[in-house]
């Protein structure tokens, strides 16, 4: 029996369909929670050329959901580790690993060599870059995204259908989505959503009807509810895709701003902690000299910041608070620091103190 006999026996696939799969070229961006099941099923199905883009390395906290990797892959680049695993799964296909970040500089060149682009990334700037590059190169995108127990799936830019920007025209405001803090995800969820994405890729290759274009499928793992929302194509959003390059900028997490550890902060005189997380973020911290101003209100609430104090700004992990310090600096409030490690570090410190 051949490797693909269970495909070939299906009247809707047959040898002809299997040949289409082996001639197809699919580029998967991100070999994480979504990318792993996508890659696994595409390789098993015999998709002839698969590209994998990922700059990150495998960490132990990935193994709860990133099913291509084992403890032997720890510390190895994800694109390379995935290639090794997939070559064992199916040595008859070509796998190209790109152990790099998708950027404006390499996206066009990478997309040119593939027929279908699969979005398995974990951040908004890359999602907008994928959308816009796919429009420029006229490639369909199979999109998936997750949040805690919920997932979204759709196919964009397919046979004149709508794009990601027709659904969400511009990236969310900085700070309005808690994307820098670890929010957690049910491990099986990206398995479900990624497998749905692999299904759409295979349907596109085989030329099936019923591709999820013009519709966003929303899935809730807790309730098993699925909802399909219709998306209307907006021509102006296709035009925007060609000149909105600012949308690919990283949230300003990595610029040089003054940082301070919890221990050093407590040595300073007249310190004022400012919690810049959203009101609903946990854990709440009950500090005596602490005020709460969410990041996206900071601009309008500068009067609450006492210039005589040493202001210590913190978020969950110490990333968004850097953006907050930048905002204060722009308003000439210079006696301020971003707290290293954020609320998590404060909690750790309090625990040690109690002991």
């Amino acid at each position: 029996m051949s490797r693909y006999s269970r495909h070939i026996v299906l009247a809707e696939v047959g040898q002809e369909g299997q040949n289409k799969l082996s001639q197809a070229k699919v580029l998967v961006i991100g070999a994480g929670g979504l990318g792993c099941p996508i890659l696994q099923y595409l390789a098993a199905a015999g998709v002839g050329t698969i590209g994998i883009v990922d700059f990150d390395v495998v960490e132990v906290s990935n193994l709860q959901r990133q099913i291509l990797f084992g403890t032997s892959s720890l510390g190895i680049n994800k694109a390379l580790a995935a290639k090794t695993r997939l070559e064992d799964l199916n040595p008859t296909i070509n796998i190209n690993a790109y152990p790099e970040k998708l950027t404006v500089n390499n996206a066009l060149e990478l997309f040119k060599n593939y027929d279908i682009i699969v979005d398995g990334t974990d951040n908004f700037p890359t999602r907008y870059l994928i959308n816009d590059t796919a429009i420029m190169t006229n490639k369909p995108i199979v999109y998936g995204a997750i949040y805690k127990f919920e997932g979204q799936v759709s196919v964009f830019n397919y046979q004149n259908g709508p794009s990601y920007r027709c659904l969400f025209p511009i990236p969310p405001q900085k700070g309005s989505v808690a994307n820098c803090s670890e929010i957690g995800v049910l491990g099986v969820l990206p398995g479900i959503i990624g497998t749905m994405q692999a299904n759409e890729v295979i349907k596109i290759i085989l030329g099936f009807d019923g591709v999820l274009s013009g519709k966003l499928l929303c899935y809730n793992a807790k309730t098993n509810q699925t909802t399909q929302l219709k998306i209307t194509k907006s021509i102006s959003e296709f035009e925007n895709a060609l000149h909105r390059k600012d949308d690919y900028n990283e949230i300003s997490c990595e610029t040089q701003v003054p940082e301070i550890s919890v221990e050093d902060a407590l040595q300073k005189d007249h310190i004022q902690f400012i919690d810049i997380r959203e009101y609903d973020e946990q854990p709440k911290l009950d500090l005596p000299n602490c005020i709460h101003i969410p990041l996206n209100e900071l601009d309008k609430t500068l009067n609450k910041v006492n210039l005589k104090n040493t202001n210590i700004l913190f978020c969950q992990n110490g990333i968004r608070s850097k953006t907050a310090v930048e905002i204060l600096q722009r308003h000439n409030i210079t006696n301020c620091y971003s707290l290293k490690g954020g609320a998590v570090a404060i909690l750790e410190h309090l625990k040690i103190d109690v002991q």
Binding site: G30, G32, G33, L34, G35, D119, G120, T121, D122, N123, F124, R127, G144, A145, I146, Y147, K148, E150, G151, Q152, L167, F168, P172, Q173, S176, V177, A178, N179, I183, V185, P190, L216, C218, T223, T227, Q228, L229, K230, I231, T232, E278, Y279, D280, P294, N296, E297
Partner: protein
């Protein structure tokens, strides 16, 4: 009229419910949103799209159906 509203993703954490029915007599999506912003002040800071009877619509659409959904973008992967 009675309007059934579904909330997705992190909006559920703001409203503390995934679904609710409200009595609503005003006309457009943006008027409804203003009413919801009064009820849930933190909703104002969130990015989301509105779907009316399972179709994504613009904020100036008139509410003629009674199924509404508020959908934020997800970034996770």
């Amino acid at each position: 009229m009675n309007l059934n509203i579904k909330y997705f993703g992190l909006l559920v954490e703001v409203t503390q419910c995934s679904e609710e029915t409200i009595v609503f007599s005003k006309a457009s999506v943006s008027e409804l949103l203003n009413m919801l912003f009064e009820k849930y002040p933190n909703l104002k800071n969130k990015d989301f799209q509105v779907a009316l009877n399972n179709e994504i619509v613009s904020k100036n659409t008139l509410i003629t159906e009674n199924e509404l959904a508020l959908l934020p973008p997800f970034s996770g992967g």
